[in-house]
Symmetry: C5
Subunit: 159 residues, 5 copies
């Protein structure tokens, strides 16, 4: 039984964690969830570390929604740097699912984008846990989470 | 008995630490404070580390007020990076309560903002110590500390 | 027998990994590959660490294609910082082969650039593993991977 | 007997270290100095680490003068990041006394500013070593080193 | 006998390493060189670490030439951050000799600048190894490597 850690925030304006858990439950079995909610994105890394070390997680999904101001962009960079550090300390993946509030034109698009990105990254988590070969099949294919895939740039010759 | 560390600075223009301690005392019991004041925000991380290791703190609140100049923004980024590092070394939360001087229009708004943000983050500290479930109930709800909450972007379906 | 780790992403729009492996196979023998595909560039560092520690790699090539937006540039910086950290933890080289999507004018140039850069860096990997002297011969010669070499600026006197 | 480490550079355009040592000697007793001069600010962190570990320092003052160009600002950021790291490794304070060359209008103001900031931070070092309570008395009071204090923004209620 | 590590790149457009070694040989004796050439500046930190740990170096000189584009500036920052980290891990100095390609107006000035900066930093390496007092004599004197010294800003009173 794999344990999937879920870290999210009260700052974000959409419940991406529930969307991702819903998608994972539709996709397969063999895992349980451990969820840990923190105030903001800079609180995520230590929560992820606690999930790995005290709750035995095999992988963590980290959901956050950085705001539109320069100070928010810096916060996102610091949060991501911490998420990177925890991955290297634990030698386990953290899939960062951040939706920047200014990626969307309005609240409708924002909630659509959050839902899609959370669900598509949930599939990446599933592949990393149970089917890594699936990712290599799609290497260099210009996949995106949320907005449409960009696709490959040209005639790459697959190995 | 939990120990809440308090780090603040002589650089800041409002005594946010006292506001937070006042709010925490109104909210509940079961904790004591350890306070450590440093000159500026870049001195905060090592003070937080000392509070965790030598004063047995379970969580730390870090209060700072970055100035409005580019050099101040860089200082805030370095301070936050250090705060992140200490959290990962100690596997404990540091709730960073920074008010950028240019978030407010004038001194009146600045002191109001400092007071509100300190008090609302004090509640986050209380929940992290004693009632984590309360945070998960508010996941994705667009909460803010100081200025009004932004609220959820749309129809998230809670788990 | 040397083991060359290959990390690439489903986000990139060209299969640079296959180009590099093809070039290495044309160049020499004495090595095998271990490939690990992840969703995006920020997932690369921990994958590289896993390749070093669990798959016995002697060197890793990391292929990524940062997008054109500011948020993508920050992601590239965080990924590179993690790649740096893994190198210092493992005391082994990771050759980072990043092609920024906005380095090329169109998709044709982009795929040409990806292919060239991957192949030229594959040779650097070969030299680092088997013929370090070759690199010292070219010290200060203004070599580039992908676009044409810039050449030396003037009359440096070689040692 | 406390040991105060002093790191400064040949790049800076004012001998801030001597000003700080002069101020400390006027202020009190119970300490000696260990001085280590390096070429530039990016050489400061490892010098500070050597002062802590090989010369038994209890605190370090780090004096630097970043130039006015973007590349200088990046150097200052890297130096400060290293200074942060050393503090966390040693669990001891490093008081960073940087004067950016473009903070002053001309050479006269620059040397005045360097002298004042060095001396006022020397007092902070004294308080951290011998009288921490003095800092808490001034928490949130908007103190500055060099230019005039900004003072508190409004009616903070002290604890 | 001291061992001076030399790391340089095939990316740079001038052989700064040879200039520095030439200058050191003119200056004194009591040292030997270990040279390690890598493709680009982001490959420098791990090479420096290898020189310290496997080739017994007492100090390392790191030569690099960041290009003029924003992506090059970020690479330089990441390289410098890694160089900082290695210094703190090894408790030894790495003297970073970077010449940004856009510091010079043309190729002639660029090669002149590279040669001068390499030679002047070679002297700093000599002083750090054999005559630290020489650096303290020049503390706060506004020394530069390459372009002319700026000199002290005003009447600093030396200790």
């Amino acid at each position: 039984m794999k344990v999937i850690g879920i870290v999210d925030t009260t700052f974000a304006r959409y419940d991406m964690a529930s969307a991702a858990m819903d998608e994972l439950e539709k996709t397969g079995t063999g895992f349980i969830f451990q969820r840990y909610t923190v105030p903001g994105i800079k609180d995520i890394p230590v929560a992820a570390k606690i999930l790995f070390e005290d709750y035995n997680c095999d992988i963590v999904m980290a959901f956050g929604m950085p705001g539109p101001m320069p100070v928010d962009k810096i916060s996102a960079q610091i949060a991501s740097t911490g998420i990177m550090e925890v991955q290297l300390q634990e030698k386990k993946h953290i899939i960062e699912v951040f939706v920047h509030e200014d990626e969307a034109m309005d609240d409708n698009e924002l909630s659509w984008l959050c839902d899609r990105r959370a669900r598509e990254h949930a599939l990446n988590v599933y592949y990393l846990l149970f089917d890594k070969e699936k990712l290599t099949e799609n290497a260099g294919m210009g996949l995106r989470q949320g907005f449409p895939d960009k696709g490959p740039a040209g005639s790459g010759h697959k190995h």
